[in-house]
Symmetry: C2
Subunit: 171 residues, 2 copies
Amino acid sequence: MKFTIREGKPEDCKDIERMIMELAVYEKMPDQVKISHKELERDGFGPNAYYKFLVAEVPEEQKSKDGYTKVGYALFFYTYSTWKGRVVYMEDLYVMPEYRGKGIGKALMANVAKVGKEKECVRLQLSVLDWNKPSLEFYLAKGAEDLTAKEGWHHIRFHGEALNNLAQEAP
Amino acid sequence: MKFTIREGKPEDCKDIERMIMELAVYEKMPDQVKISHKELERDGFGPNAYYKFLVAEVPEEQKSKDGYTKVGYALFFYTYSTWKGRVVYMEDLYVMPEYRGKGIGKALMANVAKVGKEKECVRLQLSVLDWNKPSLEFYLAKGAEDLTAKEGWHHIRFHGEALNNLAQEAP
């Protein structure tokens, strides 16, 4: 199958919104999605962009049954390790079901790694749900380490009232 | 005890390097630290900064037994949730042992939350080691959720050869 990987543009954000929802359905948390293409357009471009993304596109003659040619994406940003330095963090990696098994996911992830290496990142990090064995196996088979299993790192989150209360305590 | 919280400056980076190592010793992984004040100075400032930090400082008359007045720091950056939007991620929160229990850690964290709210972040996230019960209890008591325990999110990392191999696969 022919496909191309390219940098995301503002006009891709409606497709990204659609695929973010498809991924959330797969992750069994579709009610968690509160974002739309408007926030994605606001936050993903310009000198103060909060994220970047790559799009996988197929030619018109291979469009999906619903008529889509943008069939996958990888969304990432840069973070920082105070032990090692620059890190590229892949927040989302998604390929539409009818396009899986054709190397598109691997190509998206490899390009995120390549972009990260160009920025002198020493790690590529991501998160995966523990029941999502196919994804976990996919990453481990490529040499990734599960830091939660190996070292015991847990994700902690403040949001809503807990975040407001915290901010109000600032001296 | 009197202390002030302020934005970090390049001339703070030697103290940050010192405290990064102190924190790594506490986390039982001091041999993992490969960073120095030079990388911190390069990566933390200017329009393309990879991170930001706050410093807690005490007056000269309350300096530490080793002569330090910079006694704590919080290092953070912005990430992105494709479900919710902007996120502030606190990578490190540290207060020197002789200054603990005086509200400095809470003040640092509250200021990270406040800065995040000013940037319209909807979450403050961080990671904690599962054996580090005092820190975990500190965060949970303030309303945080443990997403690894609750939803099963695991941290996955590529580095070294695994990252190089991945980047070389990019089409």
